[in-house]
Amino acid sequence: MSKRDVVDGIVDLIRKAEIELPYDVIKALKKSYKTEQGVAKTQIEAILKNIDLAKKSKRPMCQDTGIQTFFIEVGIDFPEINTIKKIIEDGVKKATKEIPLRPNTMDPFTGENHNDNTGNHIPYITWDFTEGSDVKIISFPKGGGSENMSKLGMLKPGVGIEGVKDFVVEEVIKAAGQPCPPTVIGVGIGGGADLSLKLGKKALLRPVGIRNKNKSIAKIEEELIKRINASGIGPMGLGGKTTVLDVHVEKAHRHPASLPVGIAVQCWADRRAKMIIHKDFSWEVK
């Protein structure tokens, strides 16, 4: 296997993320279809038809193919760690033409767009290091409409966990139909401002329907799902029972004076795909 072939692997990875929704999300949407009625049901029906058509016709399910975002876990015995970044960038450029992807990266000052989905800090890569010689890559193309509903709350520690829960419920209700509900909400509690938002986003990588291993956090997740869905916002904000498909909460230790809460919002198109590159540069996309 050559590095060139791995670039094709990245294209395959992005293609899979853009075209095929993970089964855990489809399962949650099908469950919602059974419980919804009227207008809400028409929306879930259109979403399910769209998922089907995207897969059959091999085209991105949403025109907003997102900011190309990757979470990478590098095995420290992988032989050429210094080549990975370039492979990802080349893969993104190639995927933009081949799949194709919408040219979604523009300079905030000049509006300049390279039309290849790269630019300053983009593709956005989060690096992590682990034992072994494999490189694990998660592709997480992130849409703008849901990202616009992200929130950071630097709460007063005195409000406690009840205050944290109220903040999350209020903000998700305020976003109403704008982030394309039913959404998946990632909540990061603690750390600092940046870490809480990062934890929130990383929480979105957990499959829909999987609870936090910590039982008390799992209970909070269940309570948040119940309270948000009781709002009646429903699919696309047109009224209904399913406003969120899931809420995932993660925590970090915090400064005694701070209680940061980072909310990351993902639309129903909770796009994720995984790839493993082995030390001989052979790869597989899951």
Binding site: G38, V39, T42, Q43, A46, I47, K49, N50, L53, A54, S57, R59, P60, M61, C62, Q63, D64, T65, P100, L101, R102, P103, N104, M106, G111, N113, N115, G143, G145, N148, I173, A176, G177, Q178, C180, S231, G232, I233, G234, P235, M236, G237, L238, G239, C267, W268, A269
Partner: protein, 182 residues
């Protein structure tokens, strides 16, 4: 909740008939316009007549092949960003149908009543399904200046829907109802 299969352009009488919660499937011409396109169309000379088309809040994913442009994926974008333009836009272009997602604010609601128009919601993210209903790409304007998502694209669509009447010409909004549920 009545289902209508209609052709564009719409008359004022037709527009007045639609009520919040009705479902429409439309055939005819639509033009896409997001933030930059709204600004451009309000400040520059417009080389086509928007009045007999539907306004679609959309930044499509397009592909240029040997025969011309084709739509790959084309769902709606968040309409609330266009709230700052929409009353002036309705006044200038007399558009009878706005397609978007997520709903709009009070200024648009008033303008819909004043200029007799409706706002309909298409399922956000359902871009492949939407592209499937586009029969033909008619034209594109300001592509070089604004880029693919922000340019104004003219599409011929067939049986495009389901579109949920979310804000009608009588001052009613489905989003007000949902807000009351809270």
């Amino acid at each position: 909740m009545t289902e209508y299969h209609i052709n564009l352009p719409l008359t004022d009488e037709q527009v007045k008939k639609f009520k919040v919660g009705d479902i429409l499937y439309v055939s005819g011409n639509v033009f896409t316009a997001r933030d930059e396109a709204h600004h451009t169309m309000l400040t520059k000379k417009v080389p086509f007549d928007p009045s007999n088309m539907a306004l679609y809040h959309c930044g499509p994913l397009m592909n240029k092949n040997k025969t011309g442009w084709e739509v790959v994926s084309a769902g709606p974008t968040t309409s609330s960003r266009m709230e700052i333009f929409e009353d002036r836009f309705l006044k200038k272009f007399n558009v009878k149908l706005i397609i978007g997602k997520g709903g709009m604010g009070k200024n648009t609601q008033k303008a819909l009543q004043k200029y007799i128009s409706i706002y309909v919601s298409y399922t956000g993210g359902a871009g492949a399904l939407a592209a499937d209903k586009v029969e033909r790409v008619i034209d594109v304007f300001w592509l070089d200046e604004l880029g693919m998502p922000e340019a104004v694209w003219l599409f011929r669509v067939k049986e495009y829907g389901p579109l949920i009447v979310s804000m009608d010409a009588h001052g009613n909004s489905i989003y007000d109802k949902v807000n009351k549920v809270k």
